[in-house]
């Protein structure tokens, strides 16, 4: 694609809806400021109802923001209708035109642009080749599998060479295996074409797998934006930590330091955790401990009691109590390790570097 893709910028965007039942206005999206670099793949991730679709539809132009401005590249696009915006959307339900065959579906946007027939033909065939649907041009949409329909939807969006591609949970109608295959495909095509993509999903592994950056949304508010790595290891709050992967929260006052680490008192047990500036003795902190970052042993660590032990194949899943705090952990490759049983008293140990203390 010769055309240069553009970045997207949202400045203090809000959208207010009226609850049809209570007749009260509420923020579906609140004061969202997001900058998306040209050519990058950004995912909007969050639980159901957090405002992902609303944000995406504001970028596409189907909804108008009640506050703030949206820019495509350097151009303010608030006042443009969807058909005048240089964006293309891939819908969750595919939204193919059921009365057209595959070729005509893909060619639709080009015909609207009144391109010459041979140019249309060439571009459609090229795109169909890219999404590996060559030979299916004359099929009707209901003669395709879900995955193939999704590719048509993708091809149709790509062929008009938009500056930005928008995806609204495009894979949620597919089975698990196909989902994994298609997301790799989408990522491959996006990188091949070098287009900016904004992708909505509530599936965190999907987000981790394909994104350059993830934007976590919570109740209409942008909670955190960062690379998958940053989001996973430096979550800004409990919501983000809990939403991405599994997290245990160790909560307690800081009772001292030990070298470059801090000591938290968790239900009477001293736990060594990572320390960052601004931590002061006496204040209470929450530390995030990932299940795969800890293990059980007989000798050193924090005393705990096993209340669940379950073999999962690649790992042994434990639930243990540290005082009154529940900690879930996954001990990988358990074949030659000791398996603890429910009721066993043992010790929980973890590398203090991998315990991240929230800054809130």
């Amino acid at each position: 694609m010769e055309k240069k893709s553009k970045g997207v910028r949202l400045e203090h965007i809000s959208k207010i809806y009226r609850d049809p039942k209570t007749k009260k206005d509420f923020y579906a999206v609140k004061d969202a400021s997001i900058t998306i670099d040209p050519g990058s793949f950004v995912t909007l991730l969050g639980p159901s109802g957090c405002g992902k679709t609303t944000t995406l539809r504001m970028i596409a132009g189907f909804e108008s923001p009640d506050e703030g401005n949206i820019y495509l590249g350097d151009e303010a696009i608030n006042e443009l209708t969807p058909n005048k915006r240089d964006t293309a959307m891939v819908f969750q339900s595919y939204a193919l035109l059921p009365h057209y065959n595959i070729y005509d579906n893909v060619a639709y946007g080009l015909k609207i642009r009144k391109l010459p027939k041979d140019v249309i033909h060439e571009r459609v065939m090229k795109i169909l080749d890219l999404v590996e649907l060559t030979g299916m041009e004359s099929r009707m949409t209901n003669q395709l599998s879900g995955g193939q329909q999704q590719r048509v939807a993708l091809a149709r969006a790509l062929v008009i060479e938009p500056s930005v591609l928008l995806f609204d949970e495009p894979l949620s109608n597919l089975d698990a295996k196909l989902r994994v295959q298609m997301r790799t495909e989408i990522r491959r095509i996006q990188q091949e074409v070098g287009i900016t993509a904004i992708y909505v999903t509530h599936d965190q592994s999907e987000a981790m797998a394909i994104s350059d950056k993830i934007i976590i949304m919570d109740k209409g508010v942008v909670a955190q934006m960062g690379t998958p790595y940053e989001i996973y290891y430096n979550p800004v709050n409990e919501f983000v930590a809990d939403f991405i992967g599994e997290a245990n929260f160790l909560r307690g006052p800081m009772v001292g330091t030990e070298g470059e680490f801090a000591i938290l008192d968790i239900d009477g047990h001293r736990c060594k955790v990572e320390k960052h500036d601004g931590m002061s003795e006496g204040s209470t902190y929450t530390a995030v401990l990932r299940p795969e970052a800890s293990s059980l042993s007989d000798t050193d660590g924090v005393p705990c009691k096993v209340i669940l032990s379950c073999f999962m194949g690649s790992y042994q899943n434990y639930h243990v109590m540290v005082g009154k705090t529940l900690v879930r952990l996954e001990e990988y490759n358990p074949k030659h390790k000791r398996i603890y049983k429910v009721g066993d008293e043992c010790r929980l140990n973890f590398d203090p570097v991998s315990v991240y203390v929230l800054r809130t």
């Binding site: 207010i16 939204a95 059921p98 009365h99």
Partner: protein, 570 residues
């Protein structure tokens, strides 16, 4: 929290779309001018009325006319009884069809019964009622040897209207019963309830809002009906006929306007209750999808009496419809039956300008139908798929037309257009032309078309149109390349419905038609009034052939060209 910016952006986006803006402006103009304005002028006229200046004098005057006050009670009485009977019979038919094992023949009859009122001119049943049970009726005079039976009056209207309107109730109940999950009733049966007990304690309570809904719908239809009371009412006048006579007999237009306002208020009140209270409730309680097929009642003690009763009933209704074409073949109805003759048909075309009547009716309806169909699809598209400020207005006014009796609309047009807009003479040229007849046809069929269009569009995933819009298509392109092809079936059937409704319409049109146009329905009414049943039947028969023919044609057409069916399957 201010939603100002969003709203103003929405407005800017709309304004950037000239096709949408023009369409909306034209629509609002059309609806205001031809639905709201005639009703408003009725109000104005009846309050300003005789002396000038605001007063109740016209109302006082008409309420002192004894025939008018009797007509109000008559209308309400008829409406009430017809509502009860039609609802009960409709429910019985629907119950038997959905719950009892019936044979092919019976279900074929049922299907016909539900079709017939749609394709028939409104007064067919009145004609056949007179021909079967009147003074010279075949059944009363020749079979039962009763020589002075009178079908005219209260019971005549009630029977004919009940027979005309019960199929509507039957179809409504069929839809509702389909949504009752059989396991609810089976659970009650399991706990030892008898079939009757299940019906009264489970089925009936679930249907209750639906029953109220059907009752009111029939009530409104009955009140608004003009043709049947006109032919079979005799001296028993209802509001619709009284208003008609007030104009054509007493030449009292202001009085008629006040009467029309009274009639309008009654139907509007009922419509409001029906639409906003009962319709929502009746579907809200029954949203459940049937989890599996219902166990039909096999029990002979229930099955045989119920299915026999309904089969006989259905056969009787069909007989009444067939009576009209046959009646057109008898030399003199009630006196000489043989040999069968085509002389009435000949007379229709030689002496009574049959050809012109059919041409006029056909051409006017043929012009009105596509406009109506297109207009209702555009309105449905705007209402279902787009959002803009005046959407509520467009939806409300096009639905309002449903609650306006034809007679009221007719009087409104006379008052509103005969002297030009607001009696100023502006646009006076419209009155008395074919154009105003076409407009009346459109307004009368618009609500049905819009309703079916809205239902069809709600079935279609909103994102399909959005995707086309997103690909760069403008509103017009989206409508013509996506929306319309997807609701082709609905459009085609809307086309035929509009055509059939127009060509069989009478209530509003009879007040507005000028001598230069001969309309079939007006002719039928005239000959039936005069007692020339042979001619009335001949006219009616040809009308039935036209309407039935066009319905058949449409079905064939849809079968061959309707792609949307194949789309809907998945």
């Amino acid at each position: 929290m201010a939603r100002g910016q969003g709203a103003s952006l929405d407005k800017k986006k709309l304004m950037a779309d000239p096709v949408m803006v023009t369409t909306i402006v034209l629509l609002i103009t059309f609806l205001s001018l031809f639905i709201l304005y005639p009703l408003a002028i009725l109000l104005v006229d009846s309050f300003v009325g005789d002396g000038g200046g605001f007063s109740f004098s016209v109302f006082k005057r008409v309420f002192q006319i004894p025939t008018f006050t009797t007509a109000i009670t008559n209308t309400l009485k008829v409406g009430f009884v017809v509502g009860l009977i039609a609802t009960a019979v409709g429910l019985l038919f629907a119950y038997v069809e959905m719950y009892v094992r019936i044979n092919r023949f019976a279900s074929g009859l049922f299907k016909m019964v539900s079709m017939l009122p749609v394709v028939s001119p409104p007064f067919v049943l009145s004609l056949s009622m007179i021909m079967l049970f009147g003074k010279a009726g075949i059944i009363t005079r020749y079979l039962l040897k009763i020589y002075d039976n009178s079908v005219y009056g209260f019971w005549g209207i009630v029977i004919v209207q009940s027979l005309t309107f019960f199929p509507v109730c039957y179809m409504m109940f069929k839809g509702l019963l389909k949504n009752i999950d059989p396991s609810l009733e089976e659970a009650a049966r399991d706990m030892g309830a008898s079939r009757w007990k299940v019906f009264t304690s489970v089925t009936l309570p679930l249907l209750l809002p639906g029953i109220g809904n059907a009752f009111l719908v029939t009530f409104i239809e009955s009140i608004a009906d003009f043709a049947n009371p006109m032919i079979i009412g005799g001296n028993y006048d209802t509001l619709a006929t009284t208003i008609y006579l007030q104009i054509t007999g007493a030449y009292d237009k202001a009085g008629a306007a006040a009467m029309a306002v009274v009639l309008l208020c009654i139907t509007l009140a009922m419509f409001a209750v029906q639409k906003y209270v009962l319709e929502a409730k009746s579907t809200a309680t029954l949203t459940g999808k049937a989890s599996r097929a219902r166990m039909l009642i096999e029990d002979k003690g229930v099955r045989i009496p119920l299915s026999t009763l309904c089969t006989i009933g259905a056969a009787f209704v069909i007989l009444m419809y067939i009576c009209v074409p046959i009646g057109a073949l008898f030399p003199t109805w009630g006196f000489k039956f043989f040999p069968l003759t085509l002389k009435w048909f000949k007379l229709v075309f030689t002496r009574y300008h049959g050809l012109k009547a059919f041409k006029d009716s056909f051409v006017l309806s043929f012009i009105a139908a596509p406009i109506t169909a297109l207009l209702s699809m555009i309105i449905s598209y705007l209402v279902v798929k787009r959002k803009f400020r005046s959407k509520g207005f467009i939806e409300a006014v096009s639905m309002l037309a449903m609650a306006v009796p034809g007679t009221v609309l007719g009087v409104g047009y006379i008052r509103g257009f005969s002297g030009g807009l607001f009696h100023t003479g502006f646009m006076q040229g419209l009155y008395g032309t074919g154009a105003i007849l076409v407009i009346v046809f459109i307004v009368r069929s618009l609500p049905t078309g819009t309703r079916s269009g809205i239902a069809a569009l709600r079935q279609i995933d909103k994102s399909i149109e959005e995707s086309a819009y997103d690909m760069g298509a403008g509103s017009l392109k989206v409508f013509t390349s996506v929306t319309l092809p997807l609701i082709k079936d609905s459009f085609l059937s809307g086309l035929v419905t509009a055509f059939v409704r127009s060509i069989t319409a009478i209530s509003a049109i009879i007040l507005l038609v000028t001598p230069q146009f001969l309309l079939i329905t007006v002719q039928i009414n005239e000959f039936a009034e005069k007692g020339s049943y042979g001619l009335a039947c001949a006219f009616a028969t040809i009308l039935i052939i036209i309407t039935y023919g066009s319905v058949l044609l449409m079905n064939l057409f849809i079968k061959h060209f309707g792609t949307s069916r194949q789309i809907k399957e998945d």
